[in-house]
Symmetry: D2
Subunit: 397 residues, 4 copies
């Protein structure tokens, strides 16, 4: 058993710190998933989900991890042998590609250095070359959680349009939704994939697919086998406020509260808050004399910051030092950047002083782990945060 | 918004009444699913899950509904075209069969009247006839939640053995596990399917597969496509106390507490309690002059009781009367017994006085809905419950 | 450690069953009792408290038991040697009188048989005789929790008025407020005393004094020593939404939610519900062939029912049987009716099926404890409850 | 309604941050305060209370604020006209003295400058001069919450002993207990006064008196009027694990968990943690170029730090800036240091990163409020905290 003398700092980029209000909303008697009280809840969470995805289209909510929602996007729209374009932005792109492989898609995986967003020009080039329109879908990760690099879905949409290519645009915004602008409809996304445990401020256990009419049509035409993930059945039941199988009632009760909180703060304020915390974090990283994993100044994530360890120092040893000394969890480097990168999550239910606690823990950890750095990152971060006019704490009546 | 002036009586056969201790255990900060504190939890819930399934084999826990766990059983072990035997015990057998159909299995669905358990003799007959061993699996529902009829897995195993047939034995014990004896190993079950929201006393959101070595071997040999449900990957990660994708942390925290509570009471005591409540419920039904949906005296479920409405009376109108007048949810009749049957759940976190409140609500509802019946069912139930020596409330030090 | 296999039935007449919403409202981070967020809460609970007391006068809220609120009523308005009239309605009248004795008041304690409300005629007689107006206060218990007998404060007020006597009218409505009509202003009560753990549906820990202008004037003129209980200081701080010393913040958070729930249901509906449950309980008692402790048909409490044990049977042995066999707490007989009476609380967050569980537990307990009675009390109670038109479950938009 | 985008920083010196485990322990159904389950709880909290007070004597627990516990200490042992010595260490000494005045004690209030602990030499002088032993009690505040200055009770005891004076030693350790060494028995304290909402990590609502045999004897001999606060009655009931009136059950459930947490961490570790955080805070204050309110280097409180505002700057305007910009509550200057001092609480459930968030908020607030200071206080604090060997995070098996 671990003794916590105060609150654990959960600064991985998801699961994120769940607000008390959300935990308490989940901490209520579960209910008859076929009764009228549930239907009220069902309709409410569907409507609020549409608002955060910015869509008038159905949002399917699964009792699943985000991984499940990736799989759902694939098995609904694509069949074995279908060609898809994916972009290697980092580990989560690799994992999604792995699912595509398992479902025997023909994946063209455009390589990347894990320090930038997707190479949209390269994707566009492929699309232009694909005169026969064999490519059925383009899949990109909006906010690559393993690196902290963004790929703008709207730019992806524009590239598809410029190429005049009918492929579906599928976007993983698992760690993007709820912490940065997202426009499912306006950006012309066909399938948006999300999860509960990031910007939506919930514990893990819910996966989401927002689906365009085009995606729904593709699903109808798709002979591929599926049951649990089948959109159509969910949509049919959702019209009654219910689900084809027993939904994760209490997580939905939490979702209801979480989406309400995001609206009380105001979606725009939520996004501004994340940008500001990201800026302050990068100021600290720079002051420490370290590099961010994201090498493109236009692609820094508002939700997390990947930090490159100096040569010869192990990121996981550092993380262990921080955990054992300061009761803070930081994100590990994944796959090929294992040991080389650590990640600071500044996503979800978070404020300036939680960020300062977080950055102080990193700075002290760097010292304790004998990682070469300059002191004073926290001062640089405070300089950013003090510029309050950018983001006052919102109040509601 | 519904006004509850006291506690809602959630007497559907799942989701069941979740104990406060379990809700409170879920109502704690979520945690780093890759950190040491999570691993402790992971190992603990795996071990306790093995104890309730009575197995030394792996128990795979999914962030999913029970439906997902059905699908997992199928996609891990079977490939399109494989022949399976299933038995039509009721709606949940029909639904599981529907999944098998979607995954293009060749299902031999042995019909039933929804008032008995599976026809084991008929299944045995099929197995005996299947000299070529084309049947890859036999799938039965242990506790048919739509009717309240049991099918004993051990008898099924014996039939397989008598037939000398190598088919896998797959058992849905979604509404059985935790409320009645279950012996995954001793009964020779290959895949046991369960869910969190019944006898395990949790909100919905977790699915379970307990898997025999034979099932694991079948999975290894199975070329069928799968990713989310893939056992092997889960088992690999589980060795480290963790999961291949973000698990539903807070539901696992609840599972830990729920399994602890079942052990504090003693599994045998838990099962005896359910049997007793089932007996008392049937005494009430008989006193009312009504029939149970289960027509086999040997097959009555300890977890729920299906009650047949008198001809000309609609079960759902009755249920609505009960809900609106007494704030109690009863289970609806499903599919072909819609309107003809209602179900009383007496499963999970439950005691004598909750049962008496439940049966009183049914008796008053019958009166208010003008359903012909004799008064006094509650007296008959009390006669059963007063025979305390059968089941004292257990205490622990 | 006690194993609870379902919900404990807490059917003492207070503390009562606390609604989940109230517990969850208390289960939030505590807050700066001098900050603006607290002040919002402070103003809100004061206003809602005035609404439930039906007063425009101050309601003082103490971090205390109801006993403390009794003491507060006394030490604010009375000084040693002051003459007061009190009426022996039962144990709580005796206890309040005990406090008056400790503060050296000159108590005229009008005796009673513990089976009726206060003898208002006798009190009036004393008042009439007191030409010199030596009597400074008349103290009565609105709902005598030890017996289940009511004393109507309005009748008391009328008697004072008829006698033209200026004594203060002090009313203990600790177990009355929130479960039956109460009109601090309209009934001309000078000090109303209440507690959190009864009809207000909170855990114990808050005491209340509602105070008339006349009571405030008496307090100002009163030289008696006091500090913690001093009204004036509380009233002064309350104007800023705060308290002179650190208030029980989280209980106040719960109070806010509890008072909101009572308003959502509608105060009148709440009271009707209690009356109905009282009626059903008495029907059961009668059917069992037992007597209620309250011998006055006009004085039956809506909040609890005292039941007289047949000669030669010990109420506490019976209560122990019920607790051990059915996990239900019933109220003990107090003081001179110890062992002779048990009490059934039907107060607070409660509904028909909880009542039926309760009465079933009593009926089975009578059988198990070999107490002579007729079976079928539960049927009689159901006959009352089935008459739904009297008290439909209220809904709000 | 206030929107919190993350956790509020509650850095007043009480109420303090309540651990989730404690809130959750309170968030359970309340129980029969006369039943066996309550008695278990009652005995457990009494025993654990004795361990944290370090006494074998009774610890009386009131449903009250700490103010109530002050009053209890007085009314049990002293009667009007009794002479007592008190020391003006700050506002809480002033308030306690105010209660003594209200109960008509003859208080000799030894003045102080609010920047030091009690003047023990001056007190000793008075005691020596009091040949007739008219002084019945000496009352000191262990940890003066308004200033952050300590008065060592053991030194006070030694002075009494040197003077050979029989006066009772009464110590207010409301904000001391649970965050620093305390030895009721070994230090010869007669009455120790405490409250729940400081080092005990609970919401407000419980007051404590630990009482020596000598204090009990004094109480027995004391003719002063009292009821609610009367020790003897509580002690009598406590022998059965219960209380004379309805106790604040759910706060006691929280107390049980809080005292368990302090023991899991280890009392000594808890105290070392507070010392370390105090040291780090003072390092920051010094680096900012500001003064602590406590002017005696030997008297710095481990629980809070009072900081003097530079001339011409208003502490409350600064606090408002911090609250509005950083969602942190700091303690105000009280009474004669209103506007001149703010207070940083570092007491209770707290860790290094929470402290760093706190100090960052102060440093940024100083800048935003244009208070002259040097940047870099947070760096100085980190220098202290990095010296980990002094206080490793404890683990238990």
């Amino acid at each position: 058993m671990t003794v916590h003398t105060g609150r654990h700092f959960l600064q991985i980029p998801g699961p994120t710190n769940v607000p008390d209000r959300v935990l308490r909303a989940m901490d209520m008697p579960t209910l008859d998933h076929r009764g009228p009280e549930f239907a009220e809840l069902g309709f409410a969470v569907m409507a609020a989900s549409q608002r955060i995805f910015r869509t008038k289209q159905p949002v399917i909510i699964y009792p699943s991890s985000g991984t499940g929602a990736w799989e759902a996007a694939i098995v609904n729209t694509l069949a074995p042998g279908d060609k898809v374009l994916m972009a290697e932005t980092g580990q989560f792109a690799v994992l999604w590609k792995g699912i595509a492989d398992k479902f025997k898609l023909d994946v063209d995986f455009i390589s990347g250095d894990w320090r930038h967003g997707a190479d949209i020009a390269a994707i566009e080039q492929r699309l232009v070359e694909d005169k026969a329109h064999k490519i059925k879908a383009v899949c990109v990760v909006h906010n690559e959680t393993s690196t902290g690099c963004l790929t703008p879905p709207l730019e992806m949409r524009k590239a598809l349009d410029r190429a005049g290519h009918p492929a579906l645009l599928m976007v993983d915004t698992i760690s993007g939704l709820g912490s940065m602008e997202y426009e499912h409809d306006a950006w012309g996304v066909d399938v948006s994939v999300a999860g509960s445990q990031k910007g939506l401020m919930l514990p893990p256990g819910l996966g989401f697919n927002a689906v365009s009419e085009k995606a729904l049509a593709a699903a109808k035409a798709n002979p591929g086998m599926r049951s649990y993930w089948d959109w159509q059945e969910v949509i049919t039941f959702n019209k009654l406020g219910t689900f084809p199988y027993t939904p994760a009632c209490n997580l939905l009760m939490g979702l209801h509260e979480a989406l309400k909180m995001l609206e009380e703060e105001g979606h725009e304020n939520v996004f501004a808050r994340h940008r500001r915390h990201s800026l302050a974090t990068r100021a600290a990283v720079k002051a420490w004399g370290l590099d961010t994993q994201c090498a493109d100044p236009q692609a820094h994530s508002p939700a997390l910051t990947g930090v490159v360890m100096p040569e010869g120092h192990d990121a996981d040893a550092f993380r262990k030092t921080v955990l054992e000394n300061f009761d803070m969890s930081l994100g590990t480097g994944l796959n090929k950047i294992k040991g080389k990168v650590f990640r600071i999550g500044h996503i979800g239910h978070f404020n300036d002083l939680m960020l300062m606690g977080t950055l102080s823990g990193v700075e002290m950890g760097l010292a304790l782990a004998n990682v070469p750095h300059r002191a004073g990152g926290v001062l640089a971060a405070m300089d950013v945060l003090k510029a309050r006019e950018a983001a006052p704490i919102p109040k509601v009546a």
